[in-house]
Each structure stands twice: as structure tokens, then as C-alpha cells.
Amino acid sequence: MEIATQTQFHVLAVDDSSLERKLIEKLLKTSYQVFLYSVTTVDSGSKALEFLGLKEDQKSNASTFPYQKETKVNLIITDYCMPGMSGYDLLKKIKESSALRDIPVVILSSENVPSRVTRCLEEGAEAFFLKPLKFSDLARLEPHLSKSKNTPEKHNLFKSKTVMMKKRNKRKREEEHDEMHETVGVTGPKLKLTPSD
């Protein structure tokens, strides 16, 4: 029982489109098959903050809404373009909060705008991916997730049958993917951006 709790992986996905939320949830559930997981989806930045126990207008270190251990989130995936609070604004609030700043945040965007990417990565986003999100994006994310406290470090989170099947055709798919979108790199010591045509 205790072991199960330790390997439980909880993702919070934020997107104003119900279609996108459905897709992200399915993608996550299919990729992270091996472990007990849960995915929570919300349709706005303010709902995300509420879920995380932080009030929107609250000073970051106030303890009025303490972060509940039971709802501990291991990863936040958020859309960039949302009405009201943008994904960037949400990222800022999270990184400003002492309770939440260690949670990896991934930004999703339908547009490859280099200044946008830089801004998000500088603000502390773990990665910036172009939509639609793919299995290969989640696989690239994995080394960055093992930094976070509750993530089992020795396990390959992506050892699901589906992902292994897909890896056979990975290169061809990536070529086709790159034809349609410029692929944006994940943060690390070097930021890789492929130039747009």
C-alpha cells in the first residue's frame, strides 16, 4: 500500500478547450500506464491555482490555503493561450510560490513564437511543446521529471506497450511532424530551436 502511494503520479492539465483536455488526459493515461496515476483537468489558470491551494490574489507565502498532501501534483501541463490568466501568468504564480515552485510546469502552444518560448523557459518552465502533444514529447520530458520529489527515479515512466510500438516508427513520424511544425526543444543547458521556414 505504501509503495503504491510513493509511485503515484498526479498530473494537473490546464486548457480552456474541452477537446484539448480530453486529448491530453487520454495521452497521459496511455503513456503512463505502468504506474498508478491520476489526471486532473481544469479549464482555467485560476481553477488550477485553486486546486493547488493558492488563491489568485494571495501573497505567495501565505498559509491560509495550505497545499494538501493528498492532492500533491507532480506535473503541471498548461496551454499558453487562455482567456483571463494565460499559461505564462500561471507559470509565474507557481514559480513565485514557495509551496509550488518545485512542481515541473510544461507549456503547450499551437504557435511557435521564439520569444514566447524563451520567456517561458526563463520563467522556469520545464519544457515548451507545440500542440498537438505527442507521445514523443512526453518521452523527452521524462528525464526532467525525475528531478521532482515524488517521481520514482529508477523507473522508465514510458515503458508502456503502446509507446514501445510507436518507437519503431518514431523517425518517420518525427520527420512528418517536423514538416508540419517546427519542433521546439526541451529546456536543458542549451535551448534548441529549429528556425522557421
Partner: protein, 152 residues
């Protein structure tokens, strides 16, 4: 009904959708997310798209018919439509949205306007083709067959 004939019709239809550029690789990604536990997943997602896109296109057309068009609002609708069509692999719709936004960025009103009818047309084509595809799937399953997987 002969199952193998249904399956062949299905494969032909799906192949033609790719050949004509109506669908792209993202649609295959969606199909790969579907499994025995979630057999209606693609259907559900595409149905969501029909609703979303239908609503957005109606709003777009009604906005364009007004005296003073709010182009910023229109562009926001197109942005949403572009995003959701990209997410399900509706390539032609995505492409027209892209063209619209390029015209918008250049302040080319006529160019923007010229995209509206094609957008509506592409959506209607997409809807009818995918409804046909799903109908075939139902027939195949009802006849005891399995839905052929697309090899890419």
C-alpha cells in the same frame, strides 16, 4: 454483408482522406490512443470537434455579416478552430485557418473574407466523410469484423 468488402471500403475511404489532404498523421495518433477499454475514443473526440467547429464557424459567418466586423474577435475564433483542427488531424481545415491568419496579419481584409466560404466548405466535407467512416466502422463491428489499422 461481406465483412472483407466493408473493410476494403473502409481502408479505401481512409486512404483517400489522407491522399486528398483532408486528414493528416495526427488522426493516426488519435487512433493509436483508442483501445478495447475506450473503443469510442476517436468518435467522441471527433464529435466534440464537430460541435466546437460548427459553433465557431457559425459565429465567424455571423460576425462577417455585420456592418462593422470585429476582426480581432474573428481572428480569435479562427485561432481556436486552427488549434482544435490541428489536434484531431483535420489538415485542410487547419490549413485554411492558417491562410486566414496570414491574411489577417497582413491586414488583408479581402483575403480574410475569401477564406470564410472555403472554411465552411471544408468543414462540411470533413464532417460528411468522417460520419461515413464511423458508419462503416459500426457496420464492420456489427458484422463481427475488426477495424483495419492504417499502416503509415
Amino acid at each position: 454483408m461481406d465483412v472483407s468488402m466493408l473493410q476494403r471500403t473502409y481502408t479505401d475511404l481512409l486512404t483517400s482522406l489522407f491522399r486528398e489532404g483532408i486528414l493528416n498523421q495526427q488522426f493516426i495518433e488519435l487512433q493509436q490512443l483508442q483501445d478495447e477499454n475506450n473503443p469510442g475514443f476517436v468518435n467522441e473526440v471527433v464529435s466534440l470537434f464537430f460541435e466546437d467547429a460548427g459553433r465557431l464557424i457559425t459565429e465567424l459567418i455571423s460576425n462577417f455579416n455585420q456592418q462593422a466586423v470585429d476582426y480581432k474577435k474573428v481572428d480569435a475564433y479562427v485561432h481556436q478552430l486552427k488549434g482544435s483542427s490541428a489536434s484531431i488531424g483535420a489538415e485542410k481545415i487547419r490549413s485554411v485557418c492558417q491562410t486566414f491568419r496570414e491574411y489577417y496579419d497582413k491586414n488583408d481584409i479581402q483575403g480574410c473574407y475569401n477564406c470564410i466560404q472555403p472554411l465552411k466548405q471544408e468543414f462540411m466535407t470533413f464532417k460528411s466523410k468522417l460520419e461515413a467512416l464511423f458508419a462503416l466502422e459500426q457496420q464492420i463491428v456489427a458484422a463481427g469484423g475488426s477495424i483495419p489499422m492504417m499502416r503509415h
